[in-house]
């Protein structure tokens, strides 16, 4: 007979089921795995928890994204508004700008994680509501960092039809070469006063073409993040898509990317990891916490 210790630090949830005349206890763990234990083999269950205050009082986090084009000149990036790239000098007007943020986890001061369930967010500059990433019912306490991914993890690229942010109705999927468009930027640019089109569809989830990037956003000092019971803590984050052209050539030289490959990778990751997806300092900067 087994004795089972269920530690709260594992963030488990429990269900039970009856099938084929056998009662099982089913333990869903946050890492996606499931334990099934026949109930008649269980003597007793002990549930230990770190702090009942911690789990009983819950609050929310809102990550508010504001998009700039370049770090120094503070141009707001918005649909239909011409911006000038500070390094390349290109004048660009975006008609579409969309990208995925996924697999969000918050780490608290004790080193424990709160993990969002179905964690796929499509940020779309044309949809103001998509610029606030809302996370509800986190245990109150201090959080030191958010871990997240730019793009869509490889598993969801090879597992058939998806829904929600990953729905193909969002026009972020390549049908002819299965896989998500992780970032889509379209619009026009000035070339000797003529308006020309640009279209950058960046993707690639495996092998040499992989651009899916895991990142960390740190909350410390003036931007320390505390979740308070029944309150929403708002984190202001400045996003700088200008970094797409940190290493990639001027839009006058390359104005279209429509599949995974070296060009998409250069744009997303950049030389030495200085591109938009990978830049550790300047692509997503925590500016304020309220």
């Amino acid at each position: 007979m087994k004795k089972i210790l269920v530690a709260a630090s594992m963030f488990m949830s429990l269900v039970y089921q009856v099938s084929y005349g056998q009662t099982y206890m089913k333990i869903h763990r946050n890492n996606g795995s499931t334990l099934e234990i026949p109930v008649n083999t269980i003597d007793s269950v002990t549930y230990s928890t770190i702090s009942s205050n911690l789990v009983n009082s819950k609050g929310n986090i809102s990550i508010d994204l504001s998009h700039k084009f370049g770090m120094m000149n503070e141009q707001t990036l918005a649909i239909g508004k011409p911006v000038v790239h500070p390094m390349k000098g290109d004048t660009m007007t975006f008609s579409k700008f969309k990208y995925f943020i996924s697999n969000v986890k918050f780490k608290n001061a004790d080193g424990m994680y709160w993990t969002e369930g179905e964690s796929y967010h499509l940020v779309d500059l044309a949809k103001p509501e998509s610029l606030n990433l809302s996370f509800k019912d986190l245990p109150a306490g201090t959080y030191t960092q958010m871990e997240y991914t730019i793009g869509v993890d490889s598993a969801r690229n090879v597992s058939g039809a998806q829904t929600g942010a990953l729905s193909t109705t969002n026009d972020m999927y390549w049908s002819w070469k299965s896989g998500y468009i992780m970032l889509k930027a379209e619009g026009t640019y000035k070339d000797n006063n003529a308006d020309k089109m640009f279209a950058f569809h960046l993707g690639g989830f495996s092998g040499a073409n992989n651009i899916v990037t895991k990142r960390t956003m740190v909350f410390e000092g003036a931007t320390a993040l505390t979740v308070t019971k029944d309150q929403t803590s708002t984190v202001g984050v400045e996003v700088n898509p200008g970094l797409l052209w940190h290493s990639a050539p001027s839009v006058k030289e390359v104005n279209m990317i429509h599949m995974p490959g070296a060009a998409a990778k250069l744009m997303a990751l950049g030389d030495s990891g200085m591109g938009f997806f990978a830049n550790p300092m300047y692509s997503f900067q925590v500016k304020s916490v309220k």
Binding site: V6, A8, F11, M12, S13, L14, V15, Y16, Q17, S19, Y20, T23, M25, K26, H28, N30, V39, N40, I42, S44, V45, Y47, T49, S52, L54, V55, N56, K58, W114, T115, E116, G117, F135, K136, D137, L138, P139, N157, V158, S159, G160, A161, Q162, T163, S167, T168, T169, D171, Y173, S175, W176, K177, S178, G179, M259, G261
Partner: protein, 349 residues
Amino acid sequence: MRIIPLLLILFILTSCKKEAIIKPVTIPNLNSDTNTFSFEKPVGFPNPFYNFSNNPLTQKGFELGRFLFYDPILSLDSSVSCNTCHAQQHGFSDHNVPLSKGIFGFSSTRNAPALINLAWSTSFMWDGGVNHIEVQPLVPLTSEHELGETMANLVEKLNKNVFYKKKFKEAFGVETITDQKLLHALAQFTSMLISSNAKYDQVMAGKTNFTPQEQQGYELFKIKCANCHTEPLFTDYSYRNSGLESKFKDIGREKVTQDPADRGKFKVPTLRNIEFTYPYMHDGRLFNLEQVLAFKSNGIQDSPTLDISLKNGLNLSKDEQKAIIVFLKTLSDNTFISNPKYAEPVNQQ
């Protein structure tokens, strides 16, 4: 003892997970008489690649997929359905035309493949660009030369359709039709298009015998063809340049991989029901099996990516070619092309 788990539920409420999973788990009782609808793996077949893990197979899901497969509502102008280019009597390939016609009479660039034993297929399309059976329909649905739709428009159309609102609710319990459920329904139908009852299968099961000429063809087939057209599915799902040309109008797999080593390579097609699926090759250029065997024997065009097994052609005599063709016709499965389960449903709306 059984009360303990109930008490455990209380602990869930103290868990700090965002959404604690408290929903009851139900598992269909496969032994029940009311649920006899299941995927049956034919004897001698390997395990299928598609296992319905995120898309539990049900009779209602299959029937919905069947309705959708035959319904031109899926095309931009309601003129073309899946069935237009994948007809049952032709082994779910096109009506014996090299290139298929989509909306407004637009022509596709490749021959419509036969939809046979797709649950075992590891990739889709001639170039293998699609990695999962559920997302395969996105290509024909959204190609401007085929059904010409957008997924957003298609979902909107279906949600306005009383018949499909009801059918999706019955099949998936949903009030709103999503692209995911549409693709799940289609996958339930297409993955069940199983052909495993040809004379070849009867012979393998010891229920009948090949004629001497069929046997001769089978022996030759095993030596000359089975390396790529591997039994029992009659494909190894690899990509190969079969020597159709030395300068390529269609670069094939290279379009997907961007690798020049894949130039002119296409997926090895199954040979099951090959008698019904003419014309042949990725562009439908060869109209009968005699032409195919003659080409494989002494019409191979050399190029850097030509498959090694075809370097010198298959060098088959006329009699040998004839014997192989006689054998290939033992892969014709009349129960497959006449199975009423796969036929166009009646009383659609």
